[in-house]
């Protein structure tokens, strides 16, 4: 994982939940969640998983990249007792949100999970914004925090404490499980989703989930919207050729 910071006036005004389209000239243009934005600067966190991101990792300070954005909607600001649940790279936009909310909310709790210690992101930064004892970390292999999935401590928290809003971002299978848990307890939820993107502005239909365009109607969706697309959520999406493929 590497964090890249660059100057862009428009994206520096982004709100937590929004994304940008990053152009690596000659290679590709990819959607990336905004990690932080202020003072004419914007940051993104990128895992090297394909040609574009691997190439991005080789770039040095001073290199030029192309940017379109910020795009999409953003998390609503809840000032009560909030719980953020992040999985893997999904923690990035939630860190941005946590920083924005930490001085405004009554209570901020965070549950973060990853496969292994190296993929548990921004733990130090999160400790800075979460109140004491309100950051729980989990890893599947037990190399840091509790050895389990986020759903385990999440279930205990939801049963033990009252929350006014739950925010989540991460692998869609995880998001689906969290949606099922909040639905069961009739709790409000905002989830940031992702899909393959081309235009990023709501025209081409590549990023649809049900009738919603993730790039324009989302990427943040509330419980009522998630209910409408629950047959697809965590199950299938459109591939590059527009056919339906399993997640």
């Amino acid at each position: 994982m590497k964090t890249f910071k660059f100057t862009d006036r428009l994206c520096s005004k982004a709100k937590p939940g929004q994304f940008l389209m990053l152009w690596i000239p000659g290679i590709d243009e990819i959607p990336l969640s905004i990690l932080d934005a202020s003072d004419n600067l914007v940051s993104v966190s990128v895992k090297a998983v394909g040609d574009a991101t691997r190439h991005l990792h080789t770039l040095e300070a001073g290199a030029t990249v192309g940017v379109r954005g910020p795009f999409g909607n953003y998390f609503t600001e809840n000032r009560g007792r909030v719980l953020l649940v992040g999985g893997g790279t999904g923690t990035a936009p939630l860190l941005f949100l946590a920083k924005q909310l930490s001085t405004k909310t009554e209570r901020l709790s965070f549950v973060e999970g990853a496969k292994t210690k190296d993929e548990l992101l921004f733990v130090r930064e999160l400790r800075g914004v979460c109140q004491e004892k309100s950051l729980i970390t989990t890893t599947e292999d037990g190399t840091a925090g509790l050895q389990c999935l986020v759903t385990q401590p999440l279930g205990e928290l939801l049963d033990k404490e009252r929350f006014d809003m739950i925010y989540t971002c991460g692998p869609e299978v995880m998001v689906k499980k969290i949606f099922e848990m909040t639905e069961k307890r009739k709790l409000p939820l905002e989830a940031s989703l992702e899909r393959l993107m081309r235009c990023g502005i709501g025209l081409c239909g590549s990023c649809m989930i049900g009738k919603y365009r993730v790039c324009r109607d989302g990427p943040v969706f509330n419980a009522s919207q998630l209910r409408e697309v629950q047959e697809e959520l965590g199950i299938s999406k459109l591939g590059f050729d527009g056919s339906r493929i399993p997640i």
């Binding site: 000239p25 243009e29 993107m197 081309r198 502005i201 709501g202 025209l203 050729d241 527009g242 056919s243």
Partner: protein, 305 residues
């Protein structure tokens, strides 16, 4: 009973209003087409479908230009065999006609895809002829009267549904292509597809689109598309669907006065998927103010001497 002033029929199609979703916009799934239909579209045109699945070009596939959009998606589509299922399902949820856009690299491919689309339930087929001909690289089928005729003739012989040909504006005289399509059996023409265009990034000094060249759409092309409709209407009685830069009721009226029986809306859908409703309402008010009982009455009026 007062008849619907906005209803219009042409080429065997009956529409409740003269606004149609253009091809390439939210056209992969029945859910997205259904959303657009609920936004007021009188009919929808699907994404262009071919014989084989195509992943399309890598990004960047669009550039946001001054008064429009330049796109080079590369015809990503799941292929007609997979998409036929989507067409069948769409018929159960859509309340408006579904027009399937078809492309190919030879007359045989066009005909095969068109046939399958019609069998799956397409109310009409629209041919996307802004494609290179497999036998002659560099030439688009829509730029060659000879190849265009060959394609239209074979498709016409292969389906029992209305056949619409979407013409390319990237030609010296569009009336020549229009005539070729009509002589070959086209039931209607859509004028026009996108204008060939590109963008270059001054920082990296290279073209932005991964495909280098793309098609310009949106407000920037309206005057050109409008002139194309006018030119074709001057020469021919064939029904025309205007396409290019329509975003409000006034644009739609201009196209109809030029000779279009209906208009397609594409680029403008991004900002508002309910644009069809807004355009239709505006046209309705215009008709009332101008004292016309039906939208049919204003088609081609700009040609009056």
């Amino acid at each position: 009973m007062v008849s619907n002033p906005l209803s219009i029929g042409f080429a065997g199609l009956e529409l409740a209003n003269p606004t149609i979703l253009a091809s390439g916009i939210l056209g992969y799934s029945s859910e997205s087409l259904s959303r657009v239909a609920k936004g007021g579209a009188g009919a929808v045109v699907t994404k262009s479908i071919g014989i084989d699945a195509r992943p399309g070009y890598s990004n960047p596939t669009i550039v946001q230009a001054e008064a429009g959009l330049i796109n080079a998606m590369g015809l990503p589509n799941p292929g007609i065999d997979v998409y036929a299922e989507e067409i069948k399902f769409s018929k159960t949820v859509l309340r408006v006609p579904i027009i399937v856009s078809v492309f190919g690299y030879s007359a045989e491919e066009y005909a095969m895809v068109a046939k399958k689309a019609a069998e799956a339930g397409a109310e009409a087929v629209e041919l996307n002829v802004s494609c290179p001909h497999v036998k002659q690289t560099g030439a688009e089928i829509g730029q060659s009267p000879k190849f265009l005729k060959e394609v239209v003739q074979l498709v016409k012989a292969s389906i029992n549904k209305p056949l619409i040909v979407k013409l390319s504006p990237n030609v010296a005289d569009i009336t020549v292509l229009a005539q070729a399509a009509v002589e070959a059996g086209a039931d209607a023409l859509t004028a026009v597809n996108t204008l060939k265009a590109m963008a270059i990034d001054t920082e990296t000094m290279q073209p932005i689109l991964s495909n280098v060249r793309g098609g310009l759409s949106g407000a920037a092309v309206k005057p050109v598309a409008l002139r194309c409709v006018y030119d074709i209407a001057e020469q021919s009685e064939v029904p025309i669907i205007g396409c290019g830069g329509v975003s409000d009721w006034r644009d739609a009226v201009e196209f109809m006065l030029a000779g279009a029986s209906a208009v397609q809306i594409g680029t403008a859908v991004a900002d508002n998927t309910d644009v069809f409703q807004a355009v239709t309402k505006g046209v309705e008010t215009y008709l009332r103010k101008k004292n016309y009982g039906s939208v049919k009455d204003i088609v081609g009026l700009a040609h009056r001497k």
